[in-house]
């Protein structure tokens, strides 16, 4: 009851902006993140911790790549595919990048249609996002298979520095695991949206159904999905293109 009052008044109070606003929000003796549902705030804090995990992976990759006197395997040729009678460098990785960006776009649309209470479109867009994510994981599995057949192992490879394999499997593997979990998460939320678990008049309760009549869980799921895309931007730049 008390919490509902706070949430309702949150919309009507005229809040300060700028650094004064930061101080006022943090010193307000209430929740610090005004206008942010707790689930979303927690997702942001989780993503912040995940940022540190991925960053330490990428920084250790930088460290081993800078410190090895053995030449680094040529990633551009290594990830080339033979298509249309020619070797196209990095083509699979480029396709994977475009798939992930497309899925980010469908995700952001799903969030938007969620808040418009359009259950059909939200479900459809979430499912499309999940399918795109699953195809990304499929391509990654293909890429791993190809590299393993060519003799790349976590402890060595025929193309150059041994550290290539360990960092490659660690970083892309951890990212792929994030995408896979994201696909499961998306499908769970899609099913709940489809069933109407977030409608105001429903009596259904369960995981990820905190508020009646609010579709903010779709936005929270979206944050996770965009983060997966964000991490891929850095992996694409530092691991594949560098």
């Amino acid at each position: 009851m008390a919490e509902t009052d706070v949430e309702h008044s949150a919309a009507s109070i005229d809040r300060q902006d700028g650094i004064q606003g930061v101080i006022a929000d943090w010193a307000s003796d209430q929740r610090a993140f005004k206008g942010v549902p707790w689930g979303k705030a927690m997702m942001w804090i989780f993503l912040l911790s995940d940022t540190f995990i991925f960053s330490t992976f990428l920084i250790s990759y930088m460290t081993v790549r800078m410190s090895t006197p053995v030449p680094w395997p040529p990633s551009s040729e290594l990830f080339a595919l033979h298509m249309f009678g020619a070797n196209i460098p990095l083509i699979l990785i480029a396709i994977m990048t475009f798939i992930l960006i497309t899925s980010s776009g469908t995700m952001v649309l799903a969030v938007n249609y969620g808040y418009r209470l359009d259950r059909k479109k939200t479900t459809l867009l979430l499912v499309i996002t999940a399918i795109l994510g699953a195809s990304f994981v499929g391509m990654q599995a293909f890429e791993w298979t190809k590299l393993i057949h060519e003799g790349v192992r976590p402890w060595g490879n025929p193309f150059g520095a041994a550290q290539f394999g360990s960092t490659f499997f660690m970083i892309t593997g951890f990212h792929g695991a994030h995408v896979s979990i994201g696909v499961i998460f998306l499908l769970l939320v899609a099913r709940k949206v489809w069933r109407g678990d977030y409608e105001a008049n429903t009596e259904r309760r369960g995981f990820f159904t905190s508020h009646k009549g609010s579709y903010d869980i779709v936005e929270t799921t979206g944050l996770y999905w965009h983060f997966v895309d964000l991490v891929w931007v850095f992996i694409f730049a530092f691991f594949y293109l560098w």
Binding site: E7, A10, A11, R15, D17, G18, G21, V22, D25, W26, A32, F33, K34, G35, V36, P37, W44, L47, L48, T51, F52, I59, M62, T63, V64, M66, S67, T68, P69, L90, A94, T97, F98, I101, S104, G105, V108, L109, V111, N112, Y115, R116, S214, Y215, D216, E219, G222, L223, H226, F227, D229, L230, V233, F234, F236, A237, F238, Y240, L241, W242
Partner: protein, 111 residues
């Protein structure tokens, strides 16, 4: 700015624009590899396109431009610590590299 009710809702147009921009930027960073640009130009182009893409995703797709500064600072400032770690590890890696060259690849002889 964002005194509106909870939940981020914005016109679809901005999302489509950013979506298009992300495609263009991805194509550009892929072109860096196709055109075989090398050296400092390659690295600076890769980093520029990467940061632009990351910025667009965080700002618009993750709605950071519409959030209040209290959460923006809480989430975006801590990763700056990683820059320090990166700088330290770059110095360390350089040292390891030189040491390896010296002792494993015929620098000064070991006693």
């Amino acid at each position: 700015m964002s005194t509106a009710a909870e939940g981020q809702q914005h016109p679809l147009g901005i999302y489509f624009k950013i979506w298009g921009l992300l495609f263009v930027l991805s194509t550009l960073s892929y072109m860096v590899d196709i055109l075989e640009i090398q050296g400092y130009l390659r690295w600076s182009l890769i980093i520029t396109f990467m940061l632009m893409k990351a910025g667009l995703i965080v700002a618009v797709f993750m709605h950071m431009v519409w959030e209040r500064l209290a959460i923006v600072y809480a989430i975006l400032l801590p990763p700056l610590a990683l820059m320090v770690l990166m700088a330290l590890m770059a110095i360390e890696a350089d040292y390891t590299h030189i040491t390896r060259l010296l002792y494993f690849f015929g620098g000064i002889p070991l006693k």
